[in-house]
């Protein structure tokens, strides 16, 4: 396993930012997660929170007087000397998505701009396997990597003031699902009936950083059926473990 040259910086009085080379790539995410999981597994009492993004992790320590320089030195030696742990078995989640025009507000515009028929857009979007890089922006909003470049589409010039919960969108080189209603500038191509965020569950998001997801096209009727199962808490998410 190749290691990268990392940068360690004081972020605040109680936190340190560790940065990998600044580009988005699966091998970077893999190393970010290996180091993050290593630190989590150590279960150091002084660390209260570790979050990651594409190529950085933020480590927050407990409130009382942290010696940031000493912690940076300790992080460096841990990264350089760590034994690689196995990444937690990754899961592939199957996410039902309805690409009906009643949800896909921007499908026609996307079709024109990309010179692809709507069925082709749906096929390309739902064939790909996306990797969850991290969760941010909104509670339960998954940052997904792996969008086919034929579907890259700039954000809308003026964001919509209201986007429905479950809306599946494309923003630049990214795709994702709005977990809650929100204003937003992404091009909306469909809707997923799944709950991406449940604040009362022990695990508020089913997916974790490093997991994969795939969209499974469903028709309007199935979307409604799943919706009511989700409402009654009788819907069972489908997933399989991916071989590493």
């Amino acid at each position: 396993m190749n290691k990268f040259k990392l940068t360690y910086s004081r972020y605040s009085e109680t936190s340190i930012l560790v940065e990998w080379p600044q580009y988005i790539a699966p091998e970077i995410l893999n190393d970010v997660l290996l180091f993050k999981n290593y630190l989590l597994k150590e279960n150091s009492e002084s660390i209260i929170q570790i979050t990651n993004a594409y190529c950085s992790i933020l480590i927050t320590y407990g409130f009382n007087s942290v010696d940031i320089d000493a912690q940076i030195a300790s992080l460096k030696s841990k990264y350089d000397s760590r034994q690689d742990l196995e990444i937690r078995a990754q899961k592939l989640w199957k996410i039902p998505a309805c690409y009906d025009l009643c949800f896909g507000l921007d499908l026609e515009e996307l079709s024109k701009a990309k010179k692809l028929s709507i069925p082709e857009i749906v096929r390309i979007h739902s064939e790909a396997i996306y990797t969850v890089y991290f969760i941010g922006f909104l509670p339960g909003f998954l940052y997904l990597g792996g969008l086919d470049q034929r579907l890259f589409m700039p954000r809308k010039k003026s964001p919509r003031p209201y986007i429905e919960r479950g809306a599946v969108g494309i923003g630049g080189e990214q795709t994702g699902v709005y977990p809650i209603e929100s204003p937003g500038g992404w091009n909306i191509i469909g809707n997923s009936p799944i709950a991406f965020f449940n604040p009362k569950a022990e695990q508020p998001c089913f997916a974790r950083t490093g997991d994969c997801i795939r969209f499974v096209p469903v028709d309007l009727e199935t979307h409604q059926e799943i919706s009511s199962h989700v409402k009654n808490r009788t819907y069972k998410m489908e997933s399989e473990v991916i071989d590493g």
Binding site: Y23, Q49, I50, T51, T60, I135, F197
Partner: protein, 283 residues
């Protein structure tokens, strides 16, 4: 219980916030001015995580439906029990049916009402802090009731009067560390950010304080990376945004400064139109 007879401008229940859930995209939240919450809880002898009521610029009018003890800290706007003035930062016993009201604002932006044992609103992800999509309520409305703790008033209690320094409300200087992308600014800009006086915008809330003056720059956006309350982001259009307690967990704008923990508390007591100036802390 406590009844909101008339809601203020923006009232919410807040505590330490939700540290540990940012990996799910959940904001930390919690009181904007942690110092004032800690002070109020300390005066009452509460646990550190006891939830308080935070109000902004205009305080609510409340009625107590049981006897308890309270303490008011933060924004100064003459508090009264049944129209009789009471002091901020003191231990005050209120009886069943007492009415707490406030006069006009004199100092500061955010006030805190702590009650013995803390407010007992729903606890989600180890916190009672209000946040849309996490708690049922985002803010308190006229007619709402909030549960109180059943803790009896202790026989022995503190009569300490702790004063909040005036600087807590009036300090123009906001102490900061260099942000992760600070070095992306050229030497002139690095100097200018500390010599410019900025005005707090009316577009300031629990998520972020915006500053009115544009700070021309040619910084490129960064690859989305974690952010924290107190992070100062600079957009390509020159907008400076100081992220506050309800901020998102990640962001894509250069992070040029980071407020100290105390500076976040103090900034949250500044009101739109007031001047702030960044001052670099030595590490």
């Amino acid at each position: 219980m406590v009844e909101i007879l008339k809601a203020g401008l923006y009232d919410s229940i807040q505590d330490l916030g939700r540290l540990g859930y940012q990996q799910f995209g959940v904001p930390i939240s919690g009181t904007m001015d942690h110092y004032s919450r800690q002070l109020a809880n300390a005066i009452l002898g509460n646990q550190e995580d006891a939830a308080v009521l935070e109000f902004t610029l205009k305080a609510p009018r409340l009625k107590f439906h049981r006897t308890t003890a309270i303490c008011i800290t933060g924004m100064e706007s003459q508090a009264k029990i049944n129209e009789k003035p009471i002091e901020n930062n003191t231990y005050v016993i209120v009886r069943k049916n007492d009415i707490l009201s406030f006069g006009t604002r004199k100092l500061g932006c955010r006030g805190y009402l702590a009650v013995l044992g803390g407010f007992q609103s729903e606890k989600i992800m180890q916190s009672r802090s209000f946040y849309k999509s996490i708690t049922e309520q985002q803010r308190l409305k006229t007619g709402d009731f909030i549960n109180l703790s059943q803790i009896p008033i202790p026989f022995k209690r503190s009569n300490a009067v702790l004063k909040t320094p005036k600087a807590h409300f009036e300090s123009v200087r906001i102490k900061v560390f260099k942000g992760i992308e600070f070095e992306m600014l050229g030497p002139d800009h690095q100097n200018k950010i500390f010599t410019t006086e900025f005005t707090v915008s009316t577009d300031s809330n629990r998520m972020a304080y915006q500053l009115d003056e544009r700070f021309e720059n040619s910084l490129e956006p960064i690859i989305t990376s974690p952010v924290l309350p107190g992070t100062v982001q600079l957009t390509p259009s020159g907008q400076l945004m100081v992220l506050m307690r309800d901020c998102q967990t990640t962001g894509g704008y250069p992070r040029i400064l980071q407020l100290s923990e105390m500076a976040i508390n103090r900034l949250s007591q500044r009101i739109p139109g007031q001047i702030v100036q960044f001052e670099l802390l030595k590490v």
